[in-house]
Symmetry: C2
Subunit: 406 residues, 2 copies
């Protein structure tokens, strides 16, 4: 898998050459626009387009303030791929991600800085755009730990396909995958550019299995962020774990080595049906008011819900999902709304692309089982599902997943 | 079509009641959040979220500075719909659009201001969001002028299905439609909210035929806007007609009554194939440099292309499409990039949702025919198509299309 023919087919991108350049020296070369220099000043004002470090103790994109746009992609390793291919892929991905998150092209020669007689290393649609808060988060699915890559002994406890849940209507073409990438940015073109170039870099080693665009995040990880609304029109993520809640993150999100587990669920909403439910019933289904997002037991949005009386009905979503009703179990949610055109009946194909991070998949499983009685289930269907282990962040000059191969 | 049963089915939304409220008095009632008042301050700072008037000589969304996000929708009238239904639909749509473009709910009672025992008038996912530069532009397709609505004599010259073009691979499910709505906003949730609520208002009278989300606009209508890039990585729209070019707009865009014609083409890009084309060849296909976007005949991005020599090849896109090569024909482009997941081969389903406004459909037809030799055709397929007449803007208190029924 490392012949020059392959490298040519991948668009002239020399995989071997990529990783060696990583680090501060590599990053100093070629802001998007490459050697032409005419686009050297690609950054917008810092306030509107922050840049997040790729390297660090944890991967970015988990507690990072949730950006407005998502492009999520799931990949399967090629049948012929070896352990070395997997290592090189993770190296090349980390290198390109470390550049793109800084507002740089996917490689040093980039979109226009290479030889004119070769295909460009970077596809170019992000030329001139700032980093736009881009984060790129890599995950490894259960398939990575089968016999193919010599990682069987490294299978993390709990990393297996999720069990079937009541109401599952999963499409295999929108589920699972050996690897995943979550790209979040304030500009969808930047998120799409990242997934496209990482897909291209994977050529011959891994192939895109499915992908999902999302917008209008449905959670917040910072007290400074307003709570956004899902497509049922309700605030979503009011009681999320916040980035500055170190004790909460340690207890619920980070594994001992600084990684996590990611669960993705594509939740289709029957929005036309929902839209015909009277307001009071919508609020009883959720357990919160629609305008303010306050628990029906009283107070404002951030008041603690009281489950003592029956102000919040027994089958209200907020009651069944609440930590107080689930032995204190919490997860970090990071979902997005989606609209994928419409069906043949003229109904929008819309819903929630649910993403959650937790230190143990059992947390998600327990909460999802608790939701089997959720009054909301009449209005949703889970159509996609996946689980991945999230390695800790890479040290500068290393790559995500390196610890598995030590 | 005006029974109370229908009104109930439409979610309690009283169509009859809607239009009477239009105008300044109606607009003063209930900023998003309705009578609760807790969300009265829904506007962000003016700089980040301008508001565009719905009423005016021309419809907004044509020369308006191009927003970052698009939700486009095409509708067919229900078989049972009458002329009165069409009139009322256009009235109700105009009323709701006049509100939503100001950052208000779709009706005065809105998402949370109605009686709790009724479904809300507004679906609520834009509660608390600013207007976000939302524009809503309505179009009428050829089907509106058949025998159903008594408008046969009002058929505008040139409003007919586009002829077949070389390379067409049109999907009827992504083409045509009796009515269209172009919703553009700086926040995709605001554009989606507009289309969703207008679809809901149409219940029983018109049904969604197809819809398309887009991002990262591919043209500019103001000299202050940077020229954005399409998914081939090239700047697109450098030579567009600008909003302050009144002579150009009069000559090429506005019909005598202040309307226009809209052409939509869903252009799928073979991006994986394109990405393997060497840089110099990509530039010869487009006729411009990739980094700067300068014509290959020399100068910077905004230099006039020279077609005297062969610096710009005979089959380069910019040569074939240029007004100087087409008897001076120009169109106002307003397209968006799209990514709709991926195909079974793991290739992103991506491309350009091309939108153009012109005073005569013959302009588009001539230019599209000129492109039959376009070197770019090897990398694209037209998979959707539609044409609509765009009525002039409505006067305050009236509705888009009123002139057709006078």
């Amino acid at each position: 898998m490392t012949t020059s023919a392959d490298e040519q087919a991948a668009g002239g991108l020399s995989r071997r050459g990529l990783f060696g350049l990583v680090g501060a020296a590599g990053l100093a070369v070629g802001v998007r626009g490459g050697v032409l220099g005419t686009l050297a000043a690609t950054r917008a004002t810092a306030g509107s387009a922050p840049t997040h470090d790729f390297f660090g103790a944890h991967q970015a994109g988990i507690t990072t303030p949730v950006q407005d746009h998502l492009h999520f992609a799931s990949f399967d390793m090629a049948r012929s791929s070896t352990r070395d291919d997997l290592i090189e892929l993770l190296q090349d991905w980390s290198y390109a991600a470390s550049r793109m998150t800084q507002g740089l092209d996917a490689s040093a020669s980039g979109a226009v800085g290479g030889p004119p007689e070769a295909p460009p290393d970077d596809t170019g649609e992000a030329l001139g755009l700032p980093a736009s808060s881009l984060t790129i988060t890599f995950g490894l699915g259960p398939g990575i730990f089968d016999e193919r890559f010599g990682l069987r002994s490294r299978l993390p406890a709990g990393l297996e396909r999720l069990p079937a849940f009541l109401g599952d209507d999963l499409d295999p073409k929108k589920s699972d995958g050996d690897l995943c990438i979550q790209a979040c940015a304030d500009d969808p073109q930047v998120a799409v550019h990242a997934i496209r170039n990482l897909t291209r870099i994977a050529f011959g080693r891994a192939v895109l299995r499915w992908s999902q665009l999302g917008f209008g995040r449905t959670s917040r990880t910072s007290a400074r962020q307003q709570t956004p609304r899902n497509l049922f029109g309700f605030k979503d993520g009011t009681a999320n774990i916040l980035a500055d809640d170190e004790a909460g993150l340690a207890a619920h999100v980070w594994t001992d080595d600084g990684g996590s587990f990611l669960v993705a669920r594509r939740i289709a909403m029957r929005i036309e049906t929902w839209d015909r439910v009277r307001l009071s019933e919508q609020e009883r289904i959720i357990g919160r008011s629609k305008g303010e997002g306050a628990p029906l037991s009283g107070g404002d949005e951030f008041a603690e819900a009281s489950f003592a009386g029956d102000a919040i009905p027994a089958e209200a979503h907020v009651r069944l999902a609440h930590a107080a009703q689930n032995d204190g179990i919490r997860i970090l949610r990071r979902g997005y709304n989606y609209v994928d055109g419409n069906d043949e009946l003229g109904q929008l194909s819309a819903g929630l692309f649910f993403l959650s991070y937790q230190r143990d998949p059992a947390q998600f499983i327990a909460l999802q089982r608790a939701l089997s009685r959720d009054a909301m289930n009449e209005y949703i269907r889970h159509t996609g599902s996946g689980i991945w282990m999230i390695p800790p962040g890479a040290e500068e000059g290393s790559f995500v997943g390196a610890g598995l191969f030590a």
